[in-house]
Amino acid sequence: MARLRGTGIAAVNYPTGMNLGGDPSQALIHATTSGSFVVSLSATDLGQGLRTVIGQIAAETLGVEFGEIVIDTADTDTGPHDMGTFASRATHRVGNAVIAAATEARQALLEVAAEELEAAVADLEGDGHGNLMVMGVPARSVRIADIASMAQFKYGRTIAGRGAYMKPKSPVDPETGAMDPDSTEAHACTVAEVEVDTETGEVTVLSIRSAYEVGRQVNPTLVQGQIAGGAWMGMSHALYETTAPYYPAVDHSPRDFSEYLMPGPLEMPEVESVVIEVPSSDGPYGVKGIGEMTANSPIPAIANAIYHATGVRFDDLPITPEKILRGLDAKRSGPS
C-alpha cells in the first residue's frame, strides 16, 4: 500500500457586487428617545453575520457604541429596498447605504447638539463612544443619548437619515465584452496538502492554508468563519459533491444526505489562514466582499496537490477515489 503526498497551490481573485451593477441597497436610520438607533433595511442575513457587521458600520459612523444599534430587517413594510444578499454584495452595498444614512442622521444630531451647546456644528466632534463635545473643550460635552431625547421632547426634531448606494448598471458590448463587472476585487491564495492512497484512490486532505486580502475586516472573527467554512465547502466540491454522480448521465441523483456526499468532521483538516487588508476605494471603510470566494481557491489547490502526489491530472470534478484509481491504472499500463 502506498500513500503519496503532494502539495498544490492556487491564487484567485473575486469580484464584489452584482457583476454589472444596477443593484441598489437602501437604509433608513432613526434615533429613539433613549438614544439608540434603529437601522431599517430589507437585507437578509444568511448566517454570515450581516446584522452584526452592518450594526458595526452604523455604530462607527454615528459615533455610538455597537450596543446602541438595532438592526430591523427584513420587512417590506418597514425596510427600504434592497436587491438581496448574493454576489458578495451585502456588506459593501448595504454598508455604503448605512454610512450615507448614518451620516445624515449624525448631521441632524449635530444640529441639535450645536443648539444645546450653543456652538457651531463645525466646532463639534465626537469621541466615538456616544458623546459629542466642542472641539478642544471637553467640559462642553453632551451625551448623544441626551441629545436624542432632547430632540424629541425639547426641540421637536427628528434625528434620522436616509441612505442609498448603487453602482450604475454597466452595459456589455456584445462584440468585445467591454464592461465594468465589479466594484472591487478581493484575493486569495491557498496551499493544500493531500495524501493519496494508491490502492483505494482515497484522498485525505492534510491541511488547507490560505492568505486572504479582503480590503478591510469589519469583524475579524466573522471573516475567519467565512474562511473556515469556505475551505470545507471547497474541499467538498473538489472531492465529494455532485447531484449527478455520473454526469452527464442523470441516473443515481441523490435524494438525501447519505447519498449527497459532503465531508464530515472526521474528514476535515485544520484550516489555517492569514488576512491582509488593503482598503478598497469604494467599499464602506474599505471593505471588499469575502462571502463567496472562500470556497474557490481550495478546489484547484487540492486538484494540483493530487497531481503533485500522483503525477496524474484529474480535470473533472469531483475527483472521486474511483477516478483516481482509474487514472493511476492508466498511468501504470499506459505508454511511459
Binding site: 444568511l46 448566517g47 454570515q48 453575520g49 472573527t221 466573522l222 475567519q224 468563519g225 473556515a228 467554512g229 469556505g230 475551505a231 470545507w232 465547502m233 438525501d256 444526505f257 447519505s258 459532503m262 464530515g264 468532521p265 472526521l266 476535515m268 485544520e270 484550516v271
Partner: protein, 164 residues
C-alpha cells in the same frame, strides 16, 4: 383516524399532546407545543438538526412517532437554556463563533450535551465521532469541535471551583 393523547416529560414538566397516528415527535414539539428549537432539516434522519434527548440519549425526533416516547423523558434545547445566562455549551458556541446560520446549532448542542454527560473529558476523536450525524453547511465543523472542547474545559473548571 382518531387522535390519541400522548403524555411525556418535556424539559422536566409533564406535557400532553393530542395527535393523529404516526405524528412525529418533531411535529408534536414544533407544531403543537411551539418548541421550535428542534429544527427540521430533512425529515430523513440525515441531518441531525432535529436531535433531542430521550432519557438522556440523542435521538432524531423526525424518526420517532410521538407515541413511542409516551412516559419518557424528552430534553430539547429549550430546557438546556438556564433561567439566567447560558449553559456552558451555549456560551462556548457563542464565544468561538461555532455557527453561522444557526440552523444546525440546536442539534449540535443536544449531541454535545449528551456527549459531555457520557464523557465529561472528551478528546478530539470523541467529539468528532459524536458529531458525525449532524450536518453543518456553514462552518466547516472546526469551530464546533473547538467549542465543545472549550465547554468541557469550562465545565470541569467550574466543578473544580465548586469542589474547593
Amino acid at each position: 383516524m382518531a387522535s390519541t393523547i400522548v403524555a411525556f416529560e418535556l424539559g422536566g414538566r409533564e406535557v400532553e399532546v393530542m395527535v393523529k397516528p404516526m405524528t412525529t415527535l418533531q411535529s408534536a414539539l414544533r407544531d403543537q407545543l411551539g418548541f421550535t428549537a428542534t429544527k427540521e432539516g430533512c425529515r430523513q434522519g440525515g441531518c441531525g438538526s432535529c436531535t433531542v434527548l430521550v432519557n438522556g440519549e440523542p435521538m432524531l425526533s423526525c424518526l420517532l412517532p410521538v407515541e413511542d416516547v409516551a412516559g419518557q423523558r424528552v430534553t430539547t434545547l429549550e430546557s438546556l437554556t438556564p433561567a439566567q445566562g447560558l449553559h456552558p455549551l451555549q456560551q462556548a458556541f457563542l464565544d468561538t463563533n461555532a455557527f453561522q446560520c444557526g440552523y444546525c446549532t440546536p442539534g449540535m448542542l443536544m449531541v454535545a450535551k449528551a456527549l459531555l454527560d457520557h464523557k465529561p473529558t472528551p478528546d478530539r476523536a470523541d467529539i468528532t465521532q459524536a458529531l458525525t450525524g449532524n450536518i453543518c453547511r456553514c462552518t466547516g465543523y472546526g469551530p464546533i469541535v473547538r467549542a465543545i472542547g472549550v465547554a468541557a474545559q469550562a465545565m470541569r473548571s467550574s466543578e473544580e471551583g465548586q469542589a474547593r
